[in-house]
Symmetry: C2
Subunit: 314 residues, 2 copies
């Protein structure tokens, strides 16, 4: 059995083109019927301010399947521990034998979420998009920036955070990324906006968005979270979901859906666009919105990449 | 992180009184509301003749929670691999940190199922029961016998198997256990019958059962399996379920339930009897039947026992 620590995994996979392609394939697998993704398991620990999600699934044809167990315990920082942690277990899809324990401490989730945001944004934005705004200054903002830098080297990236010191500290870790002092003016100037916050009330207003802008929202991954004004989602010419069922249930699109403004017929799955089965952006002035809630196929794809490289077969 | 192999785990926990008490407590936790048990996760691999079950949960007050990932790949023996395998992961319920990887290869499941069958049978049979019949000659029959020998040293144990050679080989591994040549006469003579087969059609007939007999059925753990004639379940004076919802859905009781012969009000949970909240056997001539489908609380209890002994705190 292969057993890898976070630092070993970091040395094997990062924001490279091959890993990005694995993320793209993971989106396609959702939409072309290759993915077998049972409902996400959930265990809550209200007294300890914690929860645990168990994501698992299999992509038809893959030699392995993966089970990701990821926890968030929000009193951990006071104990000197990270609030989020996780492991990914990889099993043979032919014999059920355990092949690997990836003690990635959430690294693979951060990586695939960052790559996913970049992949979706670059697939849906105007080809001439240059000004990228990241809203949020946490771990996910870092990986969005790193992924954009890798996949779109000409992108001019700015970061806005509610806490300017935190945004400044993040930019200091990222070569050539600047702090956006004001959210409204930064949104008005952006060709592409990527939101990665835990906001429970809309941050980005519909009337701040210029024609042709693309927005990717990755913060709303559970009920009650919202980053974009509902009117912005309703007004977009194209709404793209990583998973229709998840996005309408508890993603960014859930609010417009609950308000009766959109339904499944008003959204397209990202995988269908990436495979060419559905149309993406139609014109240079379209406003497009992608809602990414996170999928176990991405975890499977990351696990497959790590395993292939650890075995020297990639 | 503690990491233990099957042989290391075997050296830590077996059919001892303390582990049996942990199994009893795991049943009580189901019935007294301490257990948080989300639905079991399932992933099928029809082309590889395999499947994977993910059982997880938490017992209120426990410092740890457990996730068990158990697979059955039925072409494995031809590849020189066991058909069943599994791992149990143990996490802190206070911080979410992974505490242990128990690579038990299914040992803990076999052990807790054997102990569970013995615990249920001894709680429900007549105090003067002596003749115990185990129906089945597989791994589970072995652990039922070992558990009975440990918890009821005076039990006279016989084993019947469809394949007499296999039953003979099993008895040769078990001190003082004899082969029952004929199922009907063995059932007619038994004070307690424990069934542990993958039967899809009833093996044990209602009119073979004498007054006062207790039967524990552990084979029916998924839809389509049945070990006892439906009339036997319907006729019993006491029906005991490890989990009412599981047993009526896909356990031994599901058949009588589907036939409209019994409902939830005609069954009692084992944990309620073990805690004294519900009555068990009422008279020496009652026929009692227990249906055990398997619960993640038992996996949690096993994980807790292993961890405590590995840390030297048990």
């Amino acid at each position: 059995m292969i057993q890898l620590s976070r630092s070993q995994i970091e040395a094997l996979v990062s924001v490279d083109a091959e890993t990005a392609e694995a993320v793209r394939d993971a989106y396609r697998a959702i939409s072309d019927g290759r993915a077998n993704l049972p409902p996400v398991g959930y265990l809550g620990f209200p007294e300890a301010h914690g929860d645990c999600h168990i994501k698992y699934g299999h992509i038809a044809g893959d030699a392995v399947f993966a089970v990701k167990i990821a926890s968030g315990f929000y009193d951990n920082p006071a104990k000197g521990l990270p609030s989020s942690t996780g492991v990914v277990l990889v099993f043979s899809a032919l014999t059920g034998q355990m092949e690997a324990l990836l003690a990635d401490e959430g690294y693979l989730t951060d990586l695939r979420t960052g790559l996913g945001g970049a992949v979706a944004s670059l697939a849906l934005c105007r080809p001439d998009a240059r000004r990228f705004l990241i809203v949020g200054s946490g771990t996910q903002a870092y990986w969005l920036a790193r992924s954009l830098q890798s996949l779109a080297p000409k992108a001019e990236i700015a970061i806005w955070g509610r806490n300017p010191d935190r945004a400044g500290a993040l930019c200091a870790r990222l070569d050539g990324v600047t702090v956006a002092p004001d959210l409204e003016s930064a949104c008005r100037a952006a060709d592409v906006i990527l939101t990665a916050t835990p906001a429970a009330a809309p941050l980005v207003r519909a009337d701040w968005i210029r024609p042709g802008c693309h927005i990717t929202a990755i913060g709303a991954d559970s009920p009650g979270k919202q980053e974009l004004e509902t009117a912005l989602v309703a007004r977009a010419q194209l709404r793209v979901a990583d998973s229709l069922s998840q996005c309408l249930d508890h993603g960014e699109f859930a609010h417009a859906h609950a308000a009766g403004l959109i339904g499944p017929d008003h959204c397209v799955e990202l995988g269908a666009i990436l495979s060419g089965a559905a149309a993406g952006r139609q014109g240079p002035d379209d406003i497009t919105v992608a809602d990414l809630t996170g999928l176990a196929t991405q975890d499977i794809a990351m696990a497959r990449c790590v395993l292939a490289r650890a075995k020297g077969t990639a």
